[in-house]
């Protein structure tokens, strides 16, 4: 019997007909919530609440409906619930749960409004509040945008508090004791006489009690779990090889497949000959899929060998064939026709730029692949009009929709299982790999098939970080920028992704000026203009999105301007910064790195700042110019997340985010040779390794106005801080990534 059926037998939901001894609790703040996603799995009865907590006879389960792709959200979300429910993290089970609109992310669009993230005035906050409406309407169960923590912070705690409230009420009934005399402790209600009743014993009774709609929450001063580093709930399984990733899905009588898709992205198959493949050992079938072919076999390796043997004639690339042409297209986009937005235009830059002494600099950033460690894969099982999908993914409701489009099965009837993700970084918000796996399953109806891409397919069929150019003009006065004009041209990651996903894709693309227009600098004349380049290679969200290139452009330029004016780059920035939390992160890295202290010849220090995803982040990088090339020796980072729920995990995310940015800045680019992606595997798309990793010191501050997520903010300042450090050490100014195209690294 399937696991879900087992849960259905022993679990029931609050407000629904009882089955064998379980109850689920949830909290929902809107008047008409989406249906309870666990309902259908349990009974035909109606359920009034969204479950984040299930209590069954054999234990307590917390539902953490966001992708665990390394950022530690299962632990932090579970801690939010456990804090209020009054249970220990190691005493509960934690599950991702099913795909459901009920688990939509209401915070992900909050920063999409054209108000500065530092603006907490009534209008800005009201507009942010309105984004919850389209967020709910779109109902994306999305993990991204560093939004999981702010999205869950209230609702997950309320879910725990509501559950605890009805459990206490149930105990009061059972023991005949007033509620106010009862306490709770680690999954038990405790009576004044010391009698302990386990939550699991109270589930049936609690099910008949209406939970409070808006329960009180523990004050921060009373937190037991939140605010303290927690052992990650996935740690032991991940170090013992027992953690299930999507690619580890094993089902009875399963077959294994791989795909071979047109290397000219987006183009189809003209003709093919599969006869050699079909004669190979282990090969069962060759199936046509979107823009390519899939080979189904008894072993993934047989499938990969079979795929290599396919003779295919591909249709031609629908985009320019060389990287130079792509950059030329970007360079040609600084026109009125292609102007996409101008979210910031303070003072009047025009007359100043028309005068003398204008500094003009251009920077470039290449396409980048996400290169998750786990190649794209999904398992699909289509039989008797039913479809189950196992896929590490960042958006299960979207996965369901794509699968529905392929099979015609209503999305709500498709079961999405979300195991751990072997890295996401934005790549697993795209659903192409789910779609292909479902197409494969459709060609092998009745049999579960796991479709695993080779690294080569993964690298060459990405949705890439947009290629981009930044042009910055500036006029200085008294050692500070008097006018800054930033022009940014890139394909639109948001519009491109949304249009593939059937979502509204109109209006300016917020990814192009992201982490540039919204910086807290107070330059008196300050203009940021975004130009949208027509899509060539498909592009999408890549860890920190626009921040990954725009911070490099702006923060490098500020460093250049400071050096040219003979002033300290940090002092110059602080002159133009009044936002308290931003100033404090910069002051923190100044102190941590002993900024300004003497360094040996050939060594250098660089700083960069960026406010991205609401988190002010400052980083200092130290480098040494060695015989073998530049070596990154140390890094210091200070971030302000408003409220730090798990300092140990935040530190890990900042280290990882910073290194992810350094890795790309030093090593990574996706280029084209006659239309095909040249970087086919890690031999020429290498990433930071142990010997290149600096020691990193992280400081977490809590001065900012709101609680924020930290998966991405560590990334943007890394590239400019490194470029600035290399300049300090060598006098060489790097204006294009990756830097290893221009200088040697040790």
């Amino acid at each position: 019997m399937g696991r879900i059926a087992k849960i259905a037998r022993r679990t029931f939901l609050l407000g629904s007909v009882a089955v064998i001894g379980g109850v689920a609790f949830g909290y929902w703040k809107y008047k008409q919530p989406y249906g309870n996603p666990l309902d259908d799995r349990l009974t035909d009865g109606e359920a009034s609440l969204t479950p984040y907590v299930k209590v069954a006879s054999d234990g307590i389960t917390i539902i953490t409906p966001r992708a665990e792709m390394g950022q530690g959200v299962h632990t932090t979300l579970a801690a939010m619930v456990a804090e209020e429910l009054d249970v220990e993290l190691n005493a509960v089970k934690i599950e991702h749960g099913p795909a459901s609109y009920a688990y939509y992310n209401e915070a992900v669009l909050e920063e999409a409004v054209p108000f500065l993230p530092t603006d907490h005035g009534m209008v800005a906050e009201t507009m942010r509040g309105f984004t919850k409406v389209p967020a709910k309407f779109l109902a994306l169960q999305i993990t991204g945008g560093s939004s999981t923590t702010p999205d869950g912070f209230v609702k997950m705690r309320k879910a725990g508090a509501a559950a605890r409230t009805v459990l206490v009420q149930a105990a009061a009934q059972k023991l005949g004791v007033s509620e106010s005399n009862l306490k709770t402790e680690n999954g038990h209600v405790i009576a004044p006489d010391g009698t302990k009743v386990a939550y699991t014993e109270l589930a049936t009774l609690a099910a008949s009690i209406e939970p409070p709609a808006d329960p009180d929450l523990q004050p921060q001063s009373e937190w037991r779990l939140l605010g303290k580093s927690q052992p990650r709930v996935d740690m032991v399984s991940k170090v013992t090889g027992t953690a299930p990733f999507g690619v580890d899905t094993q089902l009875d009588d399963m077959l294994y497949a791989t795909v071979r898709v047109n290397p000219y992205l987006g183009a189809g198959v003209r003709s093919y000959d599969a006869s050699e493949t079909l004669g190979m050992r282990g090969v069962k079938k060759v199936v046509e899929v979107t823009n390519g072919l899939a080979v189904i076999a008894t072993n993934t390796w047989y499938a990969m060998e079979g795929a290599k043997a396919l003779e295919v004639e591909w249709k031609p690339a629908p985009y320019p064939l060389t990287t130079d042409e792509h950059f030329a297209q970007v360079a040609a986009s600084f026109t009125d026709e292609r102007q996409d937005s101008q979210n910031r235009n303070e003072g009047d830059v025009e007359p100043l730029l028309a005068g003398g002494n204008v500094t003009e600099i251009e920077y470039r950033a290449p396409y980048l692949a996400h290169a998750t460690m786990e190649p794209m894969n999904a398992t699909a099982w289509l039989r008797d009009g039913k479809l189950d999908i196992w896929a590490g993914n960042q958006n299960p409701t979207l996965a369901r929709q794509f699968a529905s489009n392929v099979t015609g099965i209503p999305a709500e009837e498709i079961e999405i299982h979300t195991p751990y993700l072997g890295g996401g970084f934005g790549r697993r918000g795209e659903m192409d790999y789910v779609q292909l796996a479902v197409e494969v399953a459709k060609g092998m109806e009745g049999t579960p098939v796991k479709t695993t891409w080779s690294r080569e397919e993964d690298q060459c069929h990405g949705f890439y970080r947009p290629i981009s150019i930044g042009r910055i003009k500036a006029v200085m006065e008294d050692g500070a920028p008097k006018a800054i004009d930033i022009q940014l041209a890139a394909p639109g990651a948001i519009i491109d992704a949304f249009s593939r996903q059937g979502l509204p894709a109109a209006g300016p693309d917020g990814s192009i000026p992201m982490a540039a227009w919204d910086q807290p600098y107070t330059f008196p004349n300050y203009r940021v203009t975004a130009y949208k380049v027509p899509t060539m290679l498909p592009v999408t969200f890549w860890r920190s999105v626009g921040g990954s290139q725009n911070a490099f452009f702006q923060e490098s330029a500020l460093d250049e301007l400071a050096h040219a004016a003979g002033v300290d780059p940090i002092e110059m920035r602080l002159k133009s910064l009044t936002h308290g939390p931003s100033r404090k992160v910069i002051e923190a890295v100044v102190e941590m790195s002993n900024w300004g202290s003497a360094m040996p010849v050939g060594h250098g220090r660089g700083m960069a700042f960026c406010l991205a995803f609401g988190v002010p982040t400052a980083e200092v990088i130290e480098v040494a110019n060695t015989e073998d090339g530049i070596k990154v020796t140390k890094a210091f980072a200070a971030v302000d997340v408003g409220v730090a729920l798990d300092p140990g995990n935040i530190e890990a995310q900042v280290m990882g985010g910073l290194n992810y940015g350094l890795s790309a800045a030093i090593l990574s680019q996706i280029t084209l040779d006659n239309g095909e992606v040249e970087q086919t595997n890690f031999h020429n798309y290498d990433a930071m390794r142990m010997y290149q990793a600096p020691s990193i010191e992280v400081k977490i501050l809590e001065n900012a106005e709101k609680i924020r997520g930290i998966g991405e903010p560590g990334t943007p300042p890394a590239a400019p801080a490194l470029a600035n450090a290399i300049f300090a050490a060598t006098g060489t100014r790097l204006r294009e990534m990756p830097f290893s195209n221009f200088v040697d690294f040790a």
Binding site: T680, H683, N684
Partner: protein, 199 residues
């Protein structure tokens, strides 16, 4: 322990993987200096070729990578590979961690180490060296393993590692000429008195 690992590694190297066609080592009866120098220039083409010089890196214990996808210039083997004093990485990361008994079929997969893969001795420094420098090294018994030139040729015929240079697996350019031609050239060069070029 380190010594043990080293021994285990050496012991587990499979004996033969490359085709062991017989290499003839019959020196010519005579050869002029001009013929010797001409033979040497071909030998230098081989010794300076990436398939050979990438593992003759002298005092550096870093093998090199080269090929179309690594840019115009050869570069250090990725992943911070150090062969160490053992010249097979026994101290930290043995070559055999990745280099198995077969040339990988997938482009850019590791070439085999069936033939006792290791970095050449420090004194056999070819990478980036001039023709004259390599020539003088090769004829100097103190730096060629104490061999006469005839023995050097014999050694080439017997040492399976060298056969790899002409069968390097998919996507890699083999060393020029053939192993037999290379051995013949060595013999001509030796009979001619091992002349070295001016540069």
């Amino acid at each position: 322990m380190r010594r043990l690992i080293f021994a285990v590694l050496m012991a587990t190297v499979p004996a033969v993987a490359l085709s062991a066609e017989d290499i003839q080592t019959n020196p010519p009866a005579s050869a002029t200096e001009a013929e010797g120098l001409e033979a040497w220039s071909r030998i230098y083409e081989v010794t300076s070729h990436s398939r050979c010089s990438n593992c003759h890196t002298g005092p550096s214990d870093r093998p090199m990578w080269s090929g179309p996808s690594y840019g115009a210039e050869p570069r250090r083997h990725g992943m911070n590979i150090r062969a160490g004093e053992s010249r097979i990485g026994a101290e930290t990361l043995p070559c055999s961690t990745c280099h198995g008994a077969q040339n990988g079929e997938v482009p850019h997969s590791p070439p085999d180490n069936a033939s006792g893969w290791m970095l050449a001795p420090v004194e056999a420094h070819w990478f980036g060296q001039s023709s004259r420098t390599i020539c003088e090294q090769l004829r100097d018994p103190a730096r060629n393993g104490g061999r006469t030139l005839n023995e050097v040729a014999q050694h080439l015929g017997h040492d399976l590692i060298l056969r790899w240079a002409w069968a390097p697996g998919p996507g890699r350019e083999p060393a020029p000429y053939s192993l037999q031609e290379h051995v013949d050239d060595l013999l001509i060069w030796g009979v001619a008195g091992a002349p070295c070029p001016q540069q």
